[in-house]
């Protein structure tokens, strides 16, 4: 992978990491409310996959969508403002964390309904096919989502119609408190690709290089008109399912062992070992990311609430 892409992936991961940290602290300070699902620990997937997408390519995201949103080009200030329900947020405070979207940047939206983004992404891919563009669509979803009916329907439809779409499963091993082994009949969700006669592969979701290889192959296939691929990224979320989760279902040791596999640290080690970046350069990037996020939080905090006088606007398009 070329240095520029690697650095950009790294920068995206840092932005996501600090964004999530900030969301957490704002929540704890009661500045932010609602169901907030942090993707800390999973940054590599969104950052690497989206590094291969252009603005005109599409993604659909999930309830755990801040990472996808940022990686697909969202400005952290408007994203944070949305998390705080402010008028300056991407959705003018109407959507919140679970429904954040930026259609102009190809982010067709976080989706609070597990699995619901998959058919929508298939539709975006169909649209690209009908309009004869070379756009691709990526549907992000969790391990738990792979047991929803629409997962099945979307993979089948995409395969039969040879749609330019990549299904990216972030297997963080849990759906809320339920371990994947208790809800899912296969060990590797990627195996399910066989049921649709499409390629399925398992990758280390904390390793940007493995993800990079897989997504490149899948995009190539999509653009060649050969249809969808399923990529399963094994990863882990460091925090609870949502902010406030008592996490009775796992041990501190498990969490700690996964923290050691931090995708950001891992890329830093690579940078240093291969002398691509120095520790100082890395620190500069960290500081820059912190600055961006601090500014985003300031922006969001100082923004005003939406005006209830306009609450009925935008139900319909005139």
């Amino acid at each position: 992978m070329d240095k520029k892409r690697l650095q950009s992936i790294y920068e995206t991961m840092l932005t996501i990491r600090y964004f999530e940290d900030k969301a957490l602290s704002l929540f704890e300070e009661n500045q932010l409310r609602g169901s907030v699902h942090l993707c800390t620990g999973q940054e590599a997937v969104a950052a690497t996959v989206c590094s291969h997408l252009r603005d005109e390519d599409y993604i659909t995201s999930t309830h755990r969508g801040h990472g996808h949103c940022i990686a697909k080009g969202a400005e952290p200030d408007k994203a944070m403002a949305e998390l705080m329900g402010k008028a300056a947020g991407y959705c003018q405070g109407r959507g919140g964390s679970m429904h954040i979207a930026d259609v102009t940047k190809g982010n067709l939206g976080a989706n609070a309904i597990v699995g619901a983004g998959l058919p929508i992404a298939a539709g975006a891919a169909l649209s690209a096919k009908l309009r004869k563009t070379d756009q691709v669509a990526v549907a992000f979803f969790g391990d738990g989502a792979s047991n929803e009916g629409v997962f099945h329907e979307a993979l089948n439809l995409a395969s039969v119609w040879k749609l330019p779409i990549i299904f990216v499963c972030e297997n963080n091993q849990f759906g809320i408190s339920t371990h994947v082994s208790k809800s899912t009949s296969v060990q590797d969700i990627a195996v399910r690709a066989k049921a649709y006669d499409i390629p399925g592969e398992v990758v280390d979701g904390n390793d940007v290089f493995s993800i990079d290889e897989a997504i490149k192959r899948a995009i190539k296939r999509a653009k060649a008109g050969e249809g969808p691929s399923l990529i399963e990224c094994k990863t882990y979320r460091w925090y609870g399912h949502w902010i406030g989760d008592p996490q009775v279902y796992r041990t501190k040791e498990d969490v700690e062992s996964w923290k050691k596999k931090c995708p950001i640290k891992r890329l830093e080690t690579y940078f240093l070992e291969n002398k691509i970046m120095t520790q100082q350069e890395l620190t500069v990037m960290h500081n820059k990311a912190v600055e961006v996020i601090d500014a985003a939080a300031d922006f969001a905090i100082s923004s005003s609430d939406p005006d209830p006088a306009f609450v009925l606007d935008n139900v319909y398009c005139e």
Binding site: H99, A122, W161, Y316
Partner: protein
Amino acid sequence: MSIKKYAVAIRDVIQQEMSRDENVFVMGEDIAGQGGIFGCTRGLLEEFGEERVRNTPISEACFIGAGVGASLTGMRPIIELMYMDFTYVAMDQILNQAAKIRYMYGGKATLPLVIRGQQGIGRGNAGTHSQSVEAFFTHIPGLKVAMPSTPADAAGLLRTAIRDNNPIMFFEHKALYASSGEVSDDPNFAIPFGKASVMREGTDATVIATSLMVSRALEAAEKLAEGSIDVEVIDPRTILPLDIETIVESVKKTGRALVVHEAHRTMGIGAEIAAEVTQRAFVYLDAPVARLGAKACTLPFSLVLENAVVPGVDDIIEGIRKICYK
């Protein structure tokens, strides 16, 4: 003007709009080679090819969701549901996604999408294939809901639906497909949503009827005219938006109203219309607004039983007599 069947009127509008705008396409079960089981997409495959006339797998939630995704990204899908009863397997994509996305995204998304298909009694399809399900789609904001009762309305409303930039639920009726009527040949002939049609003028009572019930209401009105009750019959044509003004004006004139629909009486749109008319025309009312709809049981297979469940002409006559205290 041409005389057309309701099903043909629908087909022709789809054909014309597909010719006019290459972003319009159709998908659904068995709509391509077969032309739909009621013929509403007949000939389109031959004219527009398989890309724009797509047979889907039996995966309603997915192909409606795909319609949402396609419409979000510049296309104007028309989706046929073979039976509108099948909305039940796709409710999330309709009510949580299609209806809400524009609003939840702060107005920064546009979803031109038509979900159309037939419903109702008339073919002995029993409880899961004879329902009238339109009411569900008026409770969650974000959709528009049409239910044409004539070939002309089917054509005019469908054209409006296809050109509208919002998600539309378009309810045809299986027992109306073979009915004929005059339809404009103007390729831009369109009927705006939210404008009721006064099908018969009258002074003694107002009947608000939808879909298949419109012709029954008209028949009842004719019979009552002989007995000197002069009934006004109004077809709202779209129930969301609802042309409450026209209805209220009529009720102010007649002082009496009966709402008739094929959907179950309990929590059918008759409840909304009755409540709203009463709110706005209270002092003009000589009787409470009455409602007729299917009885509170599943639609039975037996024709004898089905007829006992859904309002017939005699039930409507009786209903009108009651509010006229005659």
